[in-house]
């Protein structure tokens, strides 16, 4: 869990919603944060996402971070939240912005709309230790390794990180 000390250096942020008028900002952010370029279909999807699944983080008056999720039914027929992207512009990292964003996602199963969620999960490139550490810090478990998951980046493998829920409450491990 997070220590109170790091809290004090957190950047104060404000959350905002995504809509057609500011979509370009998310595109710029993602382009700068991720090694993968997301296509138009991705943005069409997140634009349609129900409130809560996409959030923008503003510092002062400009965008420095965002997350995009998708609600899906897993192969086990259980409803899950899949974290498509979560990212913060490089200069603003290590300031608790990502944690504040992830906290928002972790709150979702407590809401009426997402109380049936059984799992929140994401894919992390195997080389991305920072991200793995980040998820672990927030109580995620590292699951199976998927080989050749990515097409254009190296290494092409990823881990699945996940967190289980029942009735909106995190399952004790």
């Amino acid at each position: 869990m997070l220590s109170s000390e790091s809290h004090s250096s957190w950047l104060p942020i404000r959350f905002g919603n995504l809509h057609e008028k500011n979509l370009e900002q998310l595109k710029r952010l993602n382009l700068s944060v991720f090694p993968i370029k997301y296509g138009e279909r991705f943005y069409e999807e997140v634009l349609q996402a129900p409130p809560g699944l996409v959030k923008l983080a503003y510092y002062h008056d400009f965008l420095i971070g965002a997350y995009c999720c998708r609600k899906e039914i897993g192969s086990d027929k259980q409803p899950k939240i899949y974290i498509l992207t979560i990212g913060v512009l490089a200069p603003y990292r290590e300031r608790g912005v990502g944690s504040q964003l992830l906290q928002q996602i972790l709150q979702l199963p407590k809401t009426e709309r997402f109380k049936d969620i059984t799992e929140i999960y994401a894919h992390v490139q195997t080389s991305n230790e920072a991200a793995l550490g980040f998820y672990q810090k927030h109580g995620f478990q590292i699951g199976e390794k998927k080989t050749n998951y990515y097409r254009d980046i190296d290494p092409p493998d990823c881990y699945v990180v996940y967190k289980k829920y029942t009735n909106g409450i995190q399952k004790d491990l």
């Binding site: 008028k21 510092y59 008056d61 490089a90 200069p91 990292r93 300031r95 550490g133």
Partner: protein, 930 residues
Amino acid sequence: MVASSLPSKEQSTFKNILKYYETKQYKKALKCAESILKKFPNHGETLALKGLVIAALNRKEEAYELVRRGLKNDLKSHICWHVYGLLYRGDQDYKEAAKAYLQALKFDPENIQILRDLALLQVQTRDYDGLMLTRRKLVTIKPGIRNHWLGFAVACHLKGEMDIAIKILESYEGTLGKNSDSLDASSDKRKEGSNQEAKIAQMEEAYETSETLLYHAMILQEMGAWKASLDYLEKNKGRIIDLLSYLEFRANLLVQLLLSKSISTEEFEHLYSGEPETAILQLLDLNPNNLEYIRLYMVVYSFRSDKFLNNGVSSFCLESNISLEACNELQQRYPHSSSLERLTLEVAIGEEFLRRVKEYFSRFLYQGVPSLMTDCKSLYRNDTKVNMIEQVLNEFYHEGLNNCKLTDRNASKNGESYDTQVISKSKDLTPDAVLWSLYFLAQHFDMKADTEQALVCVNKAIEHTPTLIEAYSVKSKIFKHAGGIFQSLQFANEARKLDLADRYLNCQCIQLALRLDMIPLAEAWMSLFTKEEGVKESQNIYDLQVIWYELESAESHFRLKEFSKALKLFKAVERHFQDIIEDQFDFHSYCLRKATLRAYIRVLRLEDKLFGQKYYLRNAKGLVRLYLEIFELQKQKSNNEEHLSLSDLSLSEEKKGQKSKKIHKDDNDKSKNSPAGKEGNAHGVKSTSSSTGSGWMEIDPNGETLYESIRDPLYEANKYISILERYVGDEMAVQTLAFELALKEEKLVLILKAVVHMERIVLNMNKVSSPSNDDFYIFVVKKLHFAYFLEERCSYLEQLPISIISFVKDECHRLCEGSTFEKLLMYYWDMYQESLAFRVHLAELLKHLDMQERYPFVIENLVSKKQGHVERREICERHVALLETLGYPKHVVDELRSFYRNIYPYADCFQPVEELQSAKKMFMEQQLKK
């Protein structure tokens, strides 16, 4: 109104017309009028009233006809004249309306209603002599009414009869005390109503009294009677409710009195020892950021320390009296005043400045306030300060870098973990400190016209935080200032796309698109923020008085030679300003009723200076240029027609031609009688009568009818030149236009006047032959042009009226130094041929006069690129354009273009033409597709 000479039954019907008219039951009113006219078809007053009703139904021409018929039948009826005046007033022709009212008063001199109406017209048309007479009459006839007294006082004040105004106010205030009995009586009556209402009424009354007292003090102040004004305020202190105004007034008066020579310093100290300071500090305690208060403090401070610069007007200006000591003193008292902090930067120098600018900037930087550079523009007049600012910004930048060592993506990719190890986070420096210092540095270099450095910084800023919209706007501005309008548009569009709901970003794009003559794109973007499309949209924009857009659009259409559309849009802007003039009408009665006379006087003075507004003047220049073009086109057309008629017109048809010419002349005369700015109006009236309800932009949206209705373009141009002369006569561009206009009119004296005015401008510049001084060379070349005109039309000089002929001859002789065009040309060529500006202007003149072959050395010289120094971009641009119009082969022009591209790498005008054109076209198509 009682109708004369009608039987009693018709008398009552007549009264009914009025009743129905006032309650807007026009159909019934019309019926009544017609029933009388059946029996008495020539009853003048009924005819007039019928006209009034018809006018209300928007059938203007018929209305005028009826009222004129009425007048013919009953010239001595005040009703007929009154109605005639009302019609003109309805059409906003206040001068004609006033004339009619004055006629009406001849037959009914004490008619209160007509007198009041007349007073409104007279103040609207600024006929202060007439106004005073009317107001005096109203007071004499009905002295019991408060507004009559105030109205009379205002009239005297406006006329400049301050003493009379004061006397009237004094006697009015005298009655205030006496009336207190009757006031009590009336308030007794009100008590029967609700208590609340009575309270409100009482408060209103008290406020009105307070305003009247302050107005009185204001007139005393304007008379220079500062002591009297102070005494007056002191005496009436208890009744003044607007305490802030009171305090401001008093502080101003104390300072004025202190500085004036009307009272000795000893006497002042005896009466008001230390009071100016106390009064000003009292105000500053209320608002330490008010520059007006700070100004007063500075003036007093410098006066006390004998450093006061008593040089007339500027003695009261802040800049000439501000001192560091005074600033320090005030800052100790008000450490949180940012106005003071900013002001100190103006006077502090050296280390002191460095320290303070650092402190000031740091606050903006840490809070991320994008407007810092706009706020600090004035500091850029001082080179030492500019260098220090650069130093400070660089320090901030490096400090920021050291504080948050960037661990960019590459580093992490290379296996270096971007875990917590390297990053030393300081709590007071946030990660955006780097961003803002880059952002400010970019603007700083842009201000220094160092485009390269500015771009480096802004690109770094964008890389740092690619979501900061302002950074794209700054990048757009950098290109714009470097002449790269197309690139500027592209980055403005990047900014716009980041927030499609931002009207400002959208407008930035529209403006740039119009500068690039991409009108369809500008219109498409405009429609994102207006509800309607097509013609309705332009009507919507017109209704919202979006002056900047209509003006930019007009200028663009003008460049594209779409003259009728340009005319329509220029006229639209013109009409907005006429509307603003029009808007004051209601205040003439409203402000008297509410007794807000100080504000009222300020509004009148503002309206008097309205045409001095930047946008109005720019629009006026556009109109003059347009009318000059139209004149040329009409001349060409009539030349062609004349040519035709000479060759194959039969005699009878020629007669017809003469007739139509005569009609033209009548039209001219008519338009000459109408006051400035009415020309478009008369046209508007005509069209509204045909299709009621539709807006000005919807009728004749492309201005063809308007364009066809121009009979005398030079006359129209003259109207605007005279306004331009009044407000910005000392601008070279205005005198150049005046010169061109006078030349087309072939009016020797006016041409001379323009050249002499140019000479005066140039002499006032002090650095006459400084090589970058474009204005100087414009003057020299216009002088040559003038000399040429004199030689060509020497007979003009002899035709002048005897009274001025010798004076004009002397001036011509002086200007041309008693020489000929050719000799002058050679003389100036020897002197100034080194200057590209001179060579370009001269070649333009020769081309205009079609004499380029006579002086081949001027033209040949154009291709040589020898240059001692870097010329201004505008001149280089003209140089390229000139080569094109002179018909130089393409490779020569392109060579020159690429030569200039080395100096101005970003400017559109020096880019390869085809490439730029196709890039623009592609961009526009792409944007329009979306």
